[in-house]
């Protein structure tokens, strides 16, 4: 039944044992423990036993007024039969208030998408390990792995009162995903081994996903922020059309099939100022732009994202209640104000102009943030991420412009030497204020995917003597007058290029320090501070030598592998040509020659058909190869750098003292913002 649940629990127990072992984490934790800023991972409890559910219900005064006027049905009729009953961290909250946040523009839709994250069929709990029911009340995977069943909540309604049924899933599959004008290429999430799957209605509240080959991975895909399992808010905004379900009753009118043909649909689109019906549809199904779109999240947009303020209001049909039957969410409104640059955003957060802000907050400003806690009326929480590398140096294995450089980039001992030459404690102190965990890029020790003892330190300690010895050994023993090693082809100085982008971490500056460490073992590295767009374009064109980024998402290797292995051509710093080869089934790109690389790709491809236990073991194997080969040199990880510095207004309640920071936790969605409230 819930194989993931039991398995995860077992692994969690095992992982907890491993985590309890002394190691490099100890000193970091003592500094952090002293600071008092790291809380305990805590989260909501979902009451699944109907016998314990409340029988009377409450609603916000605003909605009660509308019911009074007859504009809204009473709360009992708005809530589903299969309730989602949440026991929040502190307890019962109060209605009212506006949650103020900062956002950076129309491109920052993730800011709102994540708050709506409960519109996914399945969520994860606060540890990030256990899947929990959200839109769906239950699920199972058949023994043969070919049929995945989702059980929907009876009586669950869209924000305009229409019911959510299996028809919405079938509608998405047949009329949106199946329409080549909207979705030109099928997604791997629905096509194991290239064979397309189907969505089939069993009854009004039961949906089957059917595949021709065993696809055990699908169960995990449904729980993560994937194309299929991500939910309507994120997967159908910004011209995307995934998410497994869609509001059929609303969107039908924009499709030619139901609007009376392509001409009619196009005419309707042009009348509104759009080029064609597809462009019109993309606008209409985007919850950040279209206030009329029915949604399933706790709030809905009233002033769209492309304004100086993005305003959301309570969804009167939200399907969750607290243990006393009060319909969630507690906040009436969410208001995001535009900040043209990040310094302003951070300064406003420090000034207390936001009620809860973790997004875009810069770890480097922590001392200033702490200083102003009293004045700003907030408390700081540091949440540690689950990913192993905030800065990972990916060596392009398919680099071809300079054969000499390519020779070294593809030499494992070269990479290992460079890894040993990095003084990670220095980086940790300087850029992460000492709160990160130095070591290899492996996922956090608490996750089932952690490869095992010793793999945090392998090739990832500070050992310049061994580094020098390795470099001498592989043939780079000739040095020039300044002590830099020489190329073997023309006797000139060996120079590497590190491409670094100034994004949410100061990677160019971090790379300067890394270059300084490499200088000490005789390797010259030129840091190219590149503009973001340019950097991505160059990597896609296979022009970069070393690219530094983080490896967020790889903590669940199968859901978001691109920063660990080169399988997705959109971002494959480790080998763009290999990713093309893998993704196209061999028709494009270049096939890797390195047997280890081939092995990794093979293992990855086969994992989709493996059951959970086997799959995790495969993941361990993949990580072991990755770390042993050091294709990507990790530096430090599991830090609060990305969305981990949380400023919480002192007026708020039901705030977990520590959040889960990971791709699939959908920070801050995983902390269930619908349960947060103002204490007075």
């Amino acid at each position: 039944m819930r194989t993931i649940g039991r398995l995860a629990f077992a692994l969690l127990a095992g992982a907890a044992l491993i985590a309890a072992l002394p190691g490099e984490k100890a000193w970091a934790q003592s500094t952090l423990a002293e600071s008092g800023l790291i809380g305990e991972l805590e989260g909501i409890t979902i009451i699944e036993d109907p016998a314990q559910w409340p029988t009377t219900f409450g609603e916000s005064p605003e909605l009660a007024e509308l019911v009074e006027k007859g504009e809204l049905p009473p709360v009992e009729e708005r809530l589903p039969e299969d309730l989602m009953v949440i026991q929040a961290v502190d307890g019962i909250g109060r209605y009212g208030g506006t949650w103020r946040r900062g956002f950076t523009g129309p491109g920052d839709n993730e800011n709102g998408n994540r708050i709506q994250a409960s519109d996914r069929p399945i969520l994860v709990d606060h540890t990030g390990n256990t899947p929990r029911p959200s839109l769906a009340k239950g699920w199972e995977m058949s023994e043969d792995g070919k049929t995945y069943t989702l059980h929907l909540r009876r009586g669950l309604k869209w924000s305009d009162g229409a019911p959510l049924t299996a028809d919405d899933f079938v509608f998405w599959f047949e009329d949106i995903y199946g329409n080549k004008d909207i979705v030109p290429t099928p997604i791997p999430d629905m096509s194991p081994e290239g064979k397309p799957g189907r969505i089939v209605k069993v009854d009004d509240y039961t949906v089957n996903f059917e595949f021709d080959v065993p696809f055990y991975l699908f169960e995990e895909l449904m729980t993560g922020d994937t194309l299929i399992g991500g939910g309507q808010a994120v997967r159908q905004s910004e011209k995307r059309s995934y998410g497994a379900y869609a509001p059929a009753h609303y969107l039908k009118q924009f499709l030619p099939k139901y609007a009376g043909g392509v001409e009619a649909a196009d005419a309707a689109a042009k009348a509104e100022g759009y080029d064609n019906w597809v462009a019109f549809l993309h606008f209409k199904k985007d919850w950040t732009l279209n206030p009329e779109l029915p949604v399933l999240g706790p709030w809905k947009t009233v002033q769209p994202i492309n304004n100086p303020t993005w305003v959301m209001e309570r969804n009167p049909y939200y399907w969750a209640v607290d243990t006393e039957g009060n319909q969630l969410p507690y906040f009436d409104r969410v208001v995001m104000t535009l900040a043209e640059n990040l310094e302003v955003l951070n300064l406003r957060a420090i000034a207390g102009e936001y009620d809860l802000q973790e997004r875009h907050v810069d770890l480097g400003k922590l001392p200033v943030i702490l200083e102003n806690q009293e004045k700003g009326g907030y408390t700081v929480h540091l949440d540690l991420a689950l990913g192993g590398a905030d800065a990972i140096y990916q060596f392009n294995q398919s680099y071809s412009a300079d054969p000499e450089i390519a020779k070294w980039l593809t030499n494992a001992d070269f990479r290992r030497a460079l890894s040993l030459a990095i003084d990670r404690d220095q980086l940790n102190e300087t850029f992460w204020l000492g709160v990160a965990t130095p070591g290899s890029p492996a996922p956090g020790e608490d996750l089932p995917y952690f490869p095992g003892e010793g793999w945090r330190e392998k090739w990832s300690t500070y050992d310049p003597e061994q580094a020098n010895a390795l470099l001498d050994q592989i043939g780079l023993d000739q040095k020039d007058a300044d002590g830099f090693r020489l190329r073997t082809d023309n006797g000139q100085r060996l120079r590497l290029e590190i491409q670094a982008v100034q994004a949410f971490l100061p990677w160019p500056r971090i790379s300067e320090m890394v270059a300084d460490h490499w200088r000490a073992v005789g390797i010259q590295a030129d840091v190219k501070d590149t503009e973001r767009l340019l950097a991505f374009t160059r990597t896609r064109a296979n022009e970069h030598q070393i690219m530094v980024w983080n490896n967020g998402g790889t903590e669940l290797l199968y859901l978001f592998p691109r920063h660990a292995i080169p399988v997705d051509p959109t971002e494959a710093f480790m080998g763009p040509e290999f990713a093309k080869w893998y993704n196209s089934g061999g028709t494009q790109g270049v096939k890797p020659e390195d047997p280890n690389m081939l092995k990794i790709l093979e293992l990855f491809r086969g994992a989709a058909g493996q059951k959970a236990e086997e799959r995790i073991a495969t993941a361990h194997e993949i990580w072991k190869i990755l770390i042993d080969q050091q294709y990507g040199i990790g530096t430090v990880g599991q830090s609060p750098a990305l969305m981990g510095v949380r400023l919480v207004s002192n007026k708020l309640g039901n705030i977990p003292s520590r959040n889960c920071i990971a791709q699939h936790c959908r920070t801050p969605g995983g902390a269930h913002p619908e349960t947060w409230y103002y204490k007075e």
Partner: protein, 378 residues
């Protein structure tokens, strides 16, 4: 200053006045310039800065790329000038740092056991003096040990790099980089503006339209595009130089329009007509006769152009489009200081603005003085 209403010159001329009568334009200019005290002082300051640029490595104490987390965000160090016994022996104490777990700030305390005396011509990192010969002598060093261990005259930045050394080296880059651009702008501006104003007619029209087009091209997209289009294998400095030259090819328009305006007015002056009638060539008229009459405006424009180059370098670096690390310039250093943690934790990093301000002021006063001195009507 004599005016027309002054009494007629005395019948007996003094030696000084005779000198004035036969002095060249240049000598006259110099004598007048000397009277303007502030301008002279500014000239000295500018010369001083260029000297610093020349001797940059000698004046620095620690290698500008040497990082160390244990030295991050050290405030400017206190130098004790006198020993306990009262003798003049400047010394510093080595610092020990620790991160306060409550505030997450790094707190440094001097180690009273570890006293280092400052010496002149001490040992430091290796470099090539004026590019001529290798040495490791610097102006200031410590009596024992490497300056890296204890000497931080202006504190350090986030990576633990010595701020004083970086500031001195930044001076060199920033002062030199604008020269090529300004020279080019100047030449093109005067030439094309002059031709445009003097000849008028269709030449004027074509040049004016060209100026319009060039001026309408917004600099920022141009920079972004060029920065992206130039080969990635060039060093940061080379790319910046190339872009500066290209920008000057557009920047001459400012000067050209002013020059043209003046030319249009001056064209009708008697002395120009006289020169034409005397058979002087156009080129000669422009450069020998017309230009000197508004030389003062050109000087004023140039003396503003170089600091404008410096300001544009700092601005573009702020936007991430100009010089970038690991190059060191004032703009790069200011970019380090352009954030809240610098303002709140390490305000000494803002000192990078001081040489910028001083140099720009100095150039402006110098330009003022030169303009006054070169003014033929004075």
């Amino acid at each position: 200053m004599s005016t027309v209403l002054d009494a007629a010159p005395a019948p007996v001329t003094t030696v000084a006045e005779e000198k004035v009568a036969v002095a060249t334009q240049l000598q006259l200019t110099w004598w007048r310039f000397r009277k303007h005290k502030v301008a002279v002082a500014s000239g000295v300051i500018v010369a001083f800065f260029y000297l610093v640029a020349l001797l940059a490595d000698f004046l620095a104490t620690i290698g500008p790329h040497a990082t160390d987390a244990a030295r991050s965000y050290i405030p400017p160090q206190e130098i004790h000038w006198f020993d306990e016994d009262g003798s003049f022996r400047p010394h510093v104490f080595a610092l020990k740092g620790k991160r306060d777990p409550r505030t997450f700030r790094l707190v440094y305390a001097p180690d009273p056991e570890d006293k280092r005396y400052l010496v002149l011509f001490g040992q430091g990192y290796a470099y090539e003096f004026l590019g001529l010969f290798p040495t490791s002598r610097h102006l200031v060093g410590l009596d024992r040990g490497n300056p890296e261990e204890a000497l931080f005259l202006l504190g350090t930045d986030q990576l633990g790099r010595d701020f004083w050394s970086r500031l001195v080296l930044a001076t060199r880059t920033s002062l030199v980089i604008g020269l090529a651009g300004v020279a080019l702008s100047l030449f093109l501006g005067v030439l094309l503006g002059g031709i445009s104003g003097l000849y008028g007619g269709w030449i004027d029209t074509v040049i004016q339209r060209l100026i319009e087009i060039l001026r309408s091209i917004p600099t920022i997209p141009l920079w972004m595009g060029l920065a992206a289009a130039l080969p990635a294998s060039w060093s940061v400095l080379q790319i910046y130089l190339a872009i500066t030259v290209i920008i000057s090819l557009i920047g001459w328009t400012e000067l050209a329009r002013v020059v043209r305006g003046r030319f249009l007015s001056l064209r009708e002056e008697d002395f120009v007509t006289a020169a034409e009638l005397a058979g002087a060539s156009r080129m000669r008229i422009i450069f020998r006769h017309m230009v000197p009459s508004f030389l003062s405006h050109i000087i004023a424009a140039v003396s503003l152009a170089l600091p404008a180059m410096i300001i544009s370098e700092t601005t573009l670096s702020f936007l991430g489009l100009g010089l970038r690390p690991p190059a060191i310039s004032w703009g790069v250093l200011l970019q380090d200081a352009q954030n809240i943690q610098a303002l709140g934790i390490a305000p000494w990093l803002l000192l990078a603005a001081v040489p910028v301000i001083v140099v720009i002021l100095a150039f402006n006063f110098l330009g003022d003085g030169l303009r006054d001195a070169a003014d033929p009507y004075g």
